[in-house]
């Protein structure tokens, strides 16, 4: 009993001390305020699903990722109401960024209407009350699985890429402790060796998606499994790119106007997938990234991978009013940063 009395008097003393402390011009909570007055009104869910504690952690990590381009920042990666490996990394970043004024586009392999994209988009819209769009020019946040839109993104837009394997060295060094050391030392000799062996065996680089790049002349980075066609779009881009792997609990970023160079040799250059001789069966477009549709006779038809862009081209063919942005590749396959792709 004596102990309790002592504790009570201590608490009272603390409270009266606190009352005497001037609160400056910041709102310091008065310890005598009842808890009910401090609580928010009841809500079924936090805005954008994640609670403030989860968002704060991801936001802190995103800021560090932007400050150290290409460096993989660990984060907690919360449980989401979908399985890991289905875009939970990208989703957590999108939900940490999104505000009521944002307009969100979600694509899966270039497609706005695939099951994965449609579900993610519906979830984001439902939890954040935002507008959605298929038009990359209109969107403020673009979450994507494995493609970058053909139309050039602009300043103030954030592209969020879902990443399955964030570690570019994973296939040559399974230990994460060792790859961390290799990144610390910028020791990427083994990666160069892999490319050299590809040349010796096959006469060309055979790494397709996730072609390794050096960001800001320092960190080796996996650009997520975007095709080689999309890799140059990260170089000196106007927009911000955030890459996030939910299962692997790593996120990293490419800030705007940052050098991104694919690994290549002085005499053997990085090449994008050739789209020459491929014509979109719906729009007649050329020199854009195409989906190949095998035919019974052994031949192939092609259609644009970027459905948002294809939709615009179709509207134009029907003489509807539509604004089509400038694309990264022109009609002859020329990239917009002249001289970046060597031949």
């Amino acid at each position: 009993m004596d102990n309790t009395k002592e504790t009570m008097s201590n608490i009272e003393k603390t409270l009266s001390d606190a009352e005497e402390t001037p609160s400056d011009d910041l709102s310091i909570v008065n310890p005598k305020t009842p808890l009910s007055a401090l609580a928010h009104p009841h809500k079924d869910y936090s805005y954008a699903f994640l609670d403030e504690f989860a968002k704060r952690e991801i936001r802190r990590r995103i800021l560090k990722a932007i400050a150290i381009p290409g460096y993989q920042v660990p984060y907690a990666s919360r449980e989401m109401p979908m399985a890991r490996g289905w875009g939970t990394g990208g989703l957590q970043v999108t939900l940490s960024l999104v505000g009521p004024g944002d307009i969100v586009k979600v694509i899966d392999q270039g497609d706005d209407d695939s099951v994965n994209a449609a579900n993610l988009r519906r979830f984001i819209a439902r939890m954040a009350g935002v507008k959605t769009t298929a038009n990359p020019l209109e969107a403020t946040l673009i979450q994507s699985r494995h493609r970058i839109p053909e139309e050039r993104l602009r300043e103030g837009q954030a592209l969020i890429l879902q990443v399955p394997v964030p570690e570019p060295l994973r296939h040559i060094e399974p230990s994460m402790a060792k790859t961390r050391e290799m990144h610390a030392d910028a020791d990427y000799a083994l990666m160069w060796l892999v490319l050299y062996e590809q040349l010796v065996r096959y006469g060309e680089f055979v790494t397709g998606a996730s072609y390794p790049v050096i960001v800001n002349e320092r960190y080796l980075m996996s650009p997520s499994p975007i095709p080689r066609w999309d890799t140059p779009m990260l170089h000196q881009a106007a927009h911000l790119t955030i890459l996030s792997a939910g299962r692997e609990k790593r996120l990293y970023a490419v800030p705007p106007y940052t050098d991104v160079h694919p690994l290549e040799f002085d005499d053997v250059y990085f090449q994008v997938e050739s789209q020459a001789d491929r014509v979109c069966r719906l729009t007649g477009a050329r020199q854009k990234f195409m989906n190949e549709i095998p035919q019974p006779d052994g031949g192939s038809l092609f259609s644009l991978s970027d459905t948002g862009y294809a939709g615009k081209l179709l509207k134009r063919l029907q003489d509807q009013d539509v604004v089509i942005g400038e694309t990264y590749y022109d009609e002859n396959g020329g990239f917009y940063h002249a001289g970046y792709l060597k031949s």
């Binding site: 968002k55 920042v73 009521p100 009350g129």
Partner: protein, 182 residues
Amino acid sequence: MADIQITTQEALTQQVFAGLMWALSYPGQAYPLPDDGLSAFSAIGETLVDLETSYFTPHAGLDRYLSQLGGRSKSPNEALYQFYPTLDKSDLANLRHAPTGSYLVPDESATLVIGAAIGAGRGLRLSGPGIQGENDISIGDLPLEFWALRAQMRAYPLGWDIFLVGNDRVLGLPRTTHVEVL
């Protein structure tokens, strides 16, 4: 269906974070904050500081506020989030020891939030990621020695990430930004 509303606090931290993220993405461009003055600092604290983070500030009122968020008050040579509503020469001795990270974990480095005059004062020429070519800006209310110290402590990928707060605007200087004092 769940009724989704955004609370005042959620709206505040979302807006503050958007300001911080874009400021760090485009160094030298000022972005708006929903609050100004000391409230801008407390709002940034509310957006970044909780029981998982350490902080330091020489400002007594702000220190009390940040401790209420659950952050651990640590000395300037350990704290990862440091708030200086005003920075004068005497603070530089503290700042000199602020963590810059290590090669294994460069992200375990200090984020400095510093009060300054944006758009007035000393001319600076910025270059690096987030900047097309060069960007000339003016920053006042900071001792000249601060820029020398930043340059001295910057050894990419190690260094500090800095937010300069002027009234209700924030300007980012990540460790990647090269600052030339004009």
